[in-house]
């Protein structure tokens, strides 16, 4: 096929932008969706648990316990419930659902600490909501460990608590960092596949595709013109998400921003190719959108690792998750954005994404051409 001259291509791309900007509802969805998601996940659906009621029963009542209690009280995660003074009242409070956790300092706490260098604290948690229980147990161990570190700089620890945990990269267990890469993967995947497949199928539905094919405009240029607006819109979307994450959620982008954008564009191109592939088989816009939604949204949410850990899934699902492009994108973004790692740490994922992109694009291009014959 002969190459199009530039002005023909520009005419076509301009027309595509007109379609996008004339359709106010879709436009609103395109840009409203990421903003709404960021705000929802950032505030409403935060998995941080703040202001949990905690019962503290201090049988030891010495300087160490006083300092520890002060520290717990100062934390935004806990409100101390002072009404209960003996261990017998704990269960009743748990049953009423008021308190989530109780801490008991045994009478010999200070004694043990002074003489053996070790002392136990009893931590009782309401396990009826395991997620909350795990989270607040972690908060408490962080506070105690912090206290240990401040109290004694030598290697031997005067206090020991059962659960020792260290959260790297997200020491406060903030919700925002983990979901931002997930939202990025989800939004870019959805926008790219749904919008492009619908835009191409629309021409088929209208009957304009046939006119275009009879014209001297070659099929590859049709595809390029169709994809261009969505590529640019997705890049804009990406920048909006990053901007909101930094300003609204106070998320720090630790790695190289250009690497981040490069990886994202790679992922966008992969998603656009999937959209193209869907459009080859779909005959109606609704069909194309449904296919994109069903085949992309669920795998992206479930098999990417941002909602449920892949390591805990049955092995067939683990194997299948390797085929989901967003899985690799998610890992890459987490490494670059949250951990501040460079290209050397994500080259494998990048390579996988590049191969997926090239493979998908050439398959859909070939199918698109065959379809015309």
């Amino acid at each position: 096929m002969k190459k199009q001259n530039r002005s023909q291509l520009l005419t076509f791309i301009k027309k595509e932008f007109m379609h996008v900007f004339r359709d106010r509802k879709t436009l609103l969805m395109l840009f409203g969706l990421p903003i709404a998601q960021i705000i929802l996940f950032g505030f409403a659906l935060s998995n941080e648990i703040k202001n949990s009621k905690i019962i503290i029963i201090d049988y030891s009542n010495d300087i160490t316990t006083k300092q520890l209690i002060e520290k717990i009280d100062a934390s935004k995660y806990f409100d101390i419930d002072t009404r209960i003074e003996s261990a017998d009242g704990i269960e009743a409070e748990f049953k009423k659902g008021i308190a989530k956790m109780a801490i008991i300092f045994p009478p010999n706490f200070a004694d043990n600490l002074q003489h053996t260098g070790k002392a136990d604290i009893q931590v009782i948690t309401d396990g009826s909501d395991p997620n909350v229980a795990t989270a607040i147990t972690t908060y408490i161990s962080i506070i105690v460990n912090d206290y240990n570190a401040a109290y004694n700089h030598t290697s031997s620890l005067p206090l020991q608590i059962n659960a020792e945990m260290r959260m790297m990269y997200n020491p406060e267990l903030r919700g925002a960092p983990t979901f931002v890469p997930g939202v990025m993967a989800l939004i870019l995947m959805l926008v790219c596949t749904m919008m492009t497949s619908a835009a191409i199928v629309k021409e088929k539905e209208l009957g304009t595709m046939e006119i275009l094919l009879v014209s001297p405009f070659d099929p590859v240029s049709i595809i390029i013109s169709k994809l261009t607006p969505y590529l640019l819109i997705s890049i804009l979307n990406l920048l909006i998400i990053l901007f909101l994450s930094v300003t609204l959620l106070e998320l720090e982008i630790k790695g190289n921003i250009f690497l981040l954008i490069f990886e994202s564009i790679l992922f966008i191109l992969t998603s656009l190719s999937i959209g193209l592939l869907i459009s080859v088989n779909a005959t109606t816009q609704k069909g194309a959108m449904m296919t994109s939604l069903m085949s992309m949204m669920l795998p992206t949410m479930l098999l990417t690792g941002f909602m449920f850990p892949i390591e805990n899934m049955p092995w067939p699902m683990q194997v299948f998750s390797n085929l989901v492009p967003s899985r690799w994108y998610f890992i890459t973004i987490k490494n670059v954005m949250l951990k501040g790692l460079g290209f050397s740490s994500v080259w494998k994922e990048t390579l996988i994404l590049i191969s997926m992109c090239v493979l998908l694009f050439s398959i859909s291009l070939r199918k698109f051409k065959i379809r015309l014959e």
Binding site: S7, Q8, T11, H19, V214, S215, P216, F217
Partner: protein, 247 residues
């Protein structure tokens, strides 16, 4: 004046597996002619038309369109033909002017040519006031006329019309045919498929396809004479009632 063939086919055949959609079609269309291409649903009209437009590769046989070979010179053919499909084929969410500009643009017309064409076309269709109106707001008849004018915006040698007047009222259909005559008078060859037999009467020559072959090809007057019919409807019925392919 010497008559020039703008379409010439020889035993043009298209098979899909065992099914022969178009069987050994041999015909020619002269420059400036209005050539009616008739046939029941499934008779092979669309297949034949798609082969001529370069959308479909023939299985065997020869074909020349606008002086170019349908196997090897499809790109040249595409530049020299216009096409209007049975589906309404303009962009609803673009204005009249934007549609003209877009189709002119993809056929490679210059900015100047497009401006001149747009003005000419709007005057001819009396759509000057509607230039900035979205196509979705035009009545169907106007859309159809606009679609035809846009199909020939690049001054093609031949324009292929695939059931262009489906769902249009008789008055608009008449106006639509005025446009066709007008184009034909300018030397544009018209290749038109239709279901309306009164429209077949407007054609210079008519070919009737039955079950993938051309069953008859002549001027409407000669066909009526040959089949002893009063109108094209009867001619068509006599030929098509023996068809074995249904819808």
């Amino acid at each position: 004046m010497m008559e020039v063939d703008v379409i010439r086919t020889e035993n043009l055949t298209k098979k899909f597996g065992n099914f022969i959609a178009a069987n050994e079609l041999t015909f020619n269309v002269k420059k400036g002619e209005i050539f009616g291409f008739l046939g029941a649903n499934g008779a092979g009209k669309t297949t034949a038309m798609r082969m001529l437009c370069g959308l479909l590769e023939p299985s065997s046989g020869k074909g020349m369109v606008a002086g170019y070979d349908i196997y090897t010179q499809r790109d040249d053919i595409k530049k020299n033909i216009g096409y209007m499909s049975q589906k309404f084929s303009l962009y609803d969410d673009l204005t009249v002017r934007e549609n003209i500009r877009f189709y002119g643009g993809i056929y490679g017309l210059s900015r100047k040519e497009i401006a001149a064409k747009t003005a000419e076309l709007l005057t001819e269709l009396q759509l000057e006031k509607e230039a900035k109106v979205l196509v979705s707001q035009l009545p169907l008849g106007w859309k159809q006329k606009l679609a035809f004018s846009i199909a020939i915006v690049h001054d093609p040698q031949i324009v292929f019309l695939d059931e262009p007047t489906g769902g249009v009222d008789p008055v608009t259909r008449r106006q639509f045919w005025d446009l066709i005559y007008h184009a034909s008078a300018r030397g544009v060859t018209i290749f038109v498929t239709t279901h309306y037999m009164d429209e077949a009467e407007y054609c210079n020559r008519v070919s009737i396809m039955v079950d993938g072959v051309i069953a008859a090809l002549d001027s409407p007057a000669n066909l009526k004479l040959k089949y002893g019919a009063n109108n094209m409807d009867e001619v068509f019925y006599q030929l098509a009632r023996n068809a074995t392919r249904g819808e």
